[in-house]
Subunit: 206 residues, 2 copies
Amino acid sequence: MHPHFSTKERILSAAEELFARHGFAGASLRQVTAAANVNLAAVNYHFGSKDNLINELFRRRLDELTARRLEMLEQAEAQPKPTLEAILEAFVLPALNLASDQLGGSAFMRVLARAYAEHDQTLRKFLSGNYGHVLKRFAQAIRPLLPELDKEALYWRLDFVSGALTYAMSDFGAVKRPPGRSEEDHRRQAAREFVRFAVAGLRAPE
Amino acid sequence: MHPHFSTKERILSAAEELFARHGFAGASLRQVTAAANVNLAAVNYHFGSKDNLINELFRRRLDELTARRLEMLEQAEAQPKPTLEAILEAFVLPALNLASDQLGGSAFMRVLARAYAEHDQTLRKFLSGNYGHVLKRFAQAIRPLLPELDKEALYWRLDFVSGALTYAMSDFGAVKRPPGRSEEDHRRQAAREFVRFAVAGLRAPE
DNA sequence: CGCCTGATCAAACGATCGTTTGAAGGATAG
DNA sequence: CTATCCTTCAAACGATCGTTTGATCAGGCG
């Protein structure tokens, strides 16, 4: 089908789409390998197990996503007067670009939202162990810009922000793309609306 | 185990907890019936199928939740000058009460977050068909209070609000209840923080 | 008592799950 | 050419899935 993509990548892309649609337990390796046009045994040959396939699926996207986020964050902090908007954009824009630019990026965002709902220890441990430092890093960056907010209130609001972002980026919501607008415009609109919303929410008077 | 609870209710409660933890496909009926201390066949006898058990699980909680929300909304609208805060509280407080007061309410909120991630048509159709009118009703109530906001922007922001609420109430977040504070105080604090955040976000200048 | 009805039970149904096996293919190096 | 290594393949493994079956139990009523 796609001879220029390797077996591993075909499996990862098919898994991304099917896990997004049916969940990790709900999509079987037989569905995945059938969609990827590879043999069933290829998953265990290349990835060892289904659990490890899931881990590699996240690693493929998150390594680059967190790198871009921290990169933009440092650029924002390097400015003489860093703004809350710039910091939030450093968090939102890389995710938006992943979701709209890259093939299957939208499916990955839905998979990511599923990961938040997983209380199984294996995946949670993997994600928080490898990527948990990013959220803390952003909290540190935001804190001096909201000195009047006590620590607990800030954490509350950051929780609200990440919840809203995850939800909004996963296409779960009611806002449908109008027929006349391109996918990219739709997502840029979403990012603009989201940053406005989040900045105002974080700045709410105590 | 709980002789004063019927078989149906024991199944519903056990399913709520296990579906919250492992997902709909990830938790088996054998796990559910074992946790509920009932026979495996009891699920198909009382509910017909696993899918219908899931539907009834939502119906048990959502009927009362939406009733309380609409009730509080009408009270807020009956005031001479309805405030955005009062309307949002009508949306938030019943959910928070469910999550903290009722046994298993917290698990139900996590199940609800999972439902948002389900793109399978069966559950989505059931939920939007039975409870989709509530969000529209709240949008109608909020709209005259934010006349400067165009319709699309309002829907965006309401999406963010429900996403933030869903994730915040599902214990996915970082905010844990401090040891010295009662559950009720924690919930009231969460509601206060959330309403402040949401009001400010909704009122963000265009 | 005998009869009926609804609930619960152990057991089994076929289907599907993740994983493993051993053989076959296909390219490269000596 | 043969030998080697990586990959792919069909087939099967035991386990577990949702669902169904038919027997058994308990209680109300004539």
